[in-house]
């Protein structure tokens, strides 16, 4: 049966992204134009166009100020957040503040322009969409996108907005380890109930899910994570190390030269990868800084030492899911590792040791599993049928607690983290002062006990409370999360029946999204224009060179003719008195040589102009 496939799963990563599709009753992970199955999450702005993926990553050293990466660390964030301010120090590109949100300022087509993180993300999603469409030959619309477990509502919404800007309909955002678990469960036809812990350590984030898997049913028991821990941080440690080494060796400070830093970063990433397989890696960068060639090496042990505290911090989220789920280490049946950074031997060792030497499951492709699972989920959600996924069901939990702020600034949780969704929770609250006539409900999300350290989602007021001593009025506050994760908070005054409510939406305004859609279309047109220009130039160029080749060919034939004619003249000079037969024989042989050449000379040369 021929079905039009237009749903894909995208594993959107801090450093790399991957796209998969359900085709012919199985998942295909799709290669990009360079033949690679993962694509760098890089966007580079040039004087003529926007580059995304491999080509953009190659621009880092030559176009450092206008090449953007790590957008996962910008999206849905607050510019003034201290963690965020710290991140900014490592980026060669410029980040500015716009309404409290970080924007990237880049030079595009000779002009300064500000891009929201949603726009940058949409360009990456567009790239993944293009890769899929090239492969499928049809247009792609519906998509499931993976997110780190500890992304908050605004970050998840921002990803959905980015999808919209890219012309995609985001069916769902799912936690990346849970996506991988779908792939894992589908591949193995798990028998009986198994507790599976999926640990995802990628370029920028660490995510952990503990799931109970039975047949096709996956139930998230608990999730945890660290949105700021991954391969990039290990690269940064290596970079600092080499900057120091350079300083002590040559008494020069590299950090003043962005280009040098970018080149060093590239080599650090490379060295880190090598150290997962070898015990030592060499670094050689010609004229890195003030014409100094930098040649050095690093051992695996030293690398592990430099990152010791970071490596140590991967245990925290694992420990947390176990504590939150009341499941003993020994009751975890499988441990599945995904994400590029789980190739680091020390990390594998630490996790195995934490589980008392338990063997880790290595049968899954750590780079592709999340995209694989997301593609399965996308196929399933669009109502497609396959025997393999007939029983698929994903029960998700809310990864962060939800609650309201109390008078003293504490967070009063309504829905605790790791509660299965959908869920509904009601609590009775009251006034803090005598004769208080209105009450403000401020909704927060996060696992900290102080609300100020959590994410503020929104607020509303319930007015018209009848005068009464404090603590007497009864206000019923309800938190309601539906299947799609949408949160509604309502408050009802039990005495008067007055009510008010808020639906937490967040994200960009409709107008902003529309503007960005228009602009993204403009970028596409720019790109199209550049491509057409390049194509036209290529066509002219290749015709010109073909022409040159034809001339050369004709030249060669003429030379050949010239030679035989010259030979014949020489013979005539030398043989003034020959017989009739001899002259006739000579003429015949001359014709035999010359005619084919003449035929070629006056033939057509279409063979030369292949393709034009």
């Amino acid at each position: 049966m021929d079905i039009e496939v237009n749903t894909v799963g995208i594993d959107l990563g801090t450093t790399y992204s991957c796209v998969g599709v359900w085709k012919n009753d199985r998942i295909e992970i799709i290669s990009n134009e360079q033949g690679n199955r993962t694509t760098p999450s890089y966007v580079s702005f040039t004087d003529t166009e926007i580059l995304v993926g491999e080509v953009a990553k190659n621009q880092v050293a030559t176009n450092p100020y206008n090449t953007v990466f790590d957008v996962h660390r910008l999206i849905g964030r607050n510019f003034y957040d201290s963690d965020f301010q710290n991140d900014m120090k490592y980026w060669p590109f410029r980040v500015i503040e716009n309404n409290g949100k970080p924007y990237v300022r880049a030079r595009y087509k000779g002009e300064k322009k500000d891009f929201s993180p949603e726009e940058i993300t949409s360009l990456i999603l567009l790239k993944m969409k293009d890769i899929a469409e090239d492969f499928l030959g049809t247009s792609v619309r519906d998509v499931v996108i993976t997110v780190p477990t500890y992304f908050n509502r605004f970050q998840r919404k921002a990803i959905e907005d980015a999808g919209l800007i890219a012309g995609l309909h985001v069916l769902q955002t799912i936690n990346s380890p849970s996506a991988a678990a779908i792939a894992y469960g589908l591949d193995r036809r798990i028998v009986g109930l198994r507790n599976v812990l999926v640990f995802d350590l990628g370029g920028g984030t660490c995510s952990v899910s503990l799931l109970a898997i039975e047949e096709g049913i996956l139930e998230e028991i608990a999730v945890a994570g660290n949105i700021h821990l991954g391969g990039e941080d290990f690269d940064n440690r290596l970079m600092n190390h080499f900057v120091q080494e350079f300083k002590s060796k040559f008494n020069r400070d590299l950090t003043s030269n962005i280009r040098a830093l970018c080149r060093l970063r590239e080599q650090c990433e490379r060295a880190k990868r090598i150290l997962s397989a070898s015990s030592q890696a060499f670094i050689e960068i010609d004229s890195l800084f003030e014409n100094i060639d930098f040649r050095t090496s690093i051992t695996r042990t030293r690398f592990e030492e430099l990152n010791q505290d970071l490596f140590q911090s991967i245990i925290e989220p694992i420990d947390r899911v176990l504590r939150d789920s009341d499941i003993y280490k020994s009751n975890v049946d499988e441990i599945v590792l995904i994400g590029g950074s789980t190739r680091i031997p020390k990390i594998q060792r630490m996790i195995s040791e934490f589980f008392n030497g338990k063997e880790l499951s290595r049968s899954i492709n750590s780079d592709e599993a999340a995209a694989y699972g997301a593609a399965v989920r996308a196929f399933h959600l669009t109502g497609n049928f396959s025997e393999k996924i007939q029983d698929l069901c994903l029960i998700e939990v809310s990864s962060l607690s939800l609650g309201i702020e109390t008078l003293n600034g504490d967070m009063l949780p309504f829905i605790k983290r790791n509660t299965s969704m959908p869920t509904k929770k009601l609590k009775i609250i009251s006034t803090d002062f005598n004769n208080q006539s209105s009450i403000s409900i401020q909704v927060y999300e996060g696992n900290n006990t102080r609300s100020i350290e959590n994410n503020f989602l929104g607020e509303f007021e319930l007015t018209g409370i009848r005068p009464a001593p404090k603590g007497v009025p009864q206000i019923a506050v309800t938190f309601d999360i539906d299947l799609n994760g949408k949160l509604k908070v309502s408050a009802v005054d039990k005495t008067t029946g007055r009510m008010n409510e808020i639906t937490i939406i967040g994200g960009l305004l409709k107008g902003e999204i529309e503007r960005m859609i228009t602009e993204t279309e403009k970028y596409r047109e720019d790109r199209e224009e550049v491509m057409q220009k390049a194509q036209a130039r290529n066509a002219l160029e290749s015709y010109t060179y073909d022409l040159r080749n034809v001339i050369q060919y004709i030249e060669n034939l003429k030379n050949e003719l010239e030679n035989v004619a010259q030979d014949s003249i020489t013979w005539l000079d030398e043989n003034q008195e020959s017989g009739k037969e001899e002259y006739e024989f000579k003429l015949n042989s001359l014709e035999e040589i010359a005619n084919p050449i003449l035929k070629k000379l006056y033939g057509n040369y279409s063979d030369f102009f292949n393709g034009t």
């Binding site: 039975e214 069901c393 994903l394 029960i395 959908p422 009601l426 299947l483």
Partner: protein, 102 residues
């Protein structure tokens, strides 16, 4: 908890009883949760969500010792009154039958 939920028999809802262990309740909840989770019932999300809320609440109550104790009190009282009603009913029926026989 609203009145509607007060009328539900949480034990009946999950298919367990007073003496069920935590593990038995866990298992029973899981079985129901999986079957009635709205993700499994996408053609009837609203009804499934409502039912899922009920079983989640029941599970929370029955696995929290303090809440279970409170609920059990109410539950036992309800059962008693129900039994009384039934007895009364039976008497009435018997009386009625007696009357009809005459």
């Amino acid at each position: 908890m609203n009145t509607e939920e007060n009328d539900l028999d949480l034990y009946e809802l999950l298919g367990v009883n007073y003496n069920s262990t935590k593990e038995e309740i866990d298992k029973a909840y899981r079985r129901k949760a999986i079957k009635f989770h709205p993700d499994k019932n996408r053609d009837n999300v609203e009804a499934a969500t409502k039912f899922f809320h009920q079983i989640s609440a029941a599970y929370k109550t029955l696995t929290d010792p303090q809440k279970k104790l409170e609920y059990d009190k109410i539950h036992k009282a309800k059962i008693e009154s129900k039994k009384r009603f039934e007895k009364l009913d039976a008497k009435r029926k018997a009386l009625k039958e007696e009357l009809e026989e005459r």
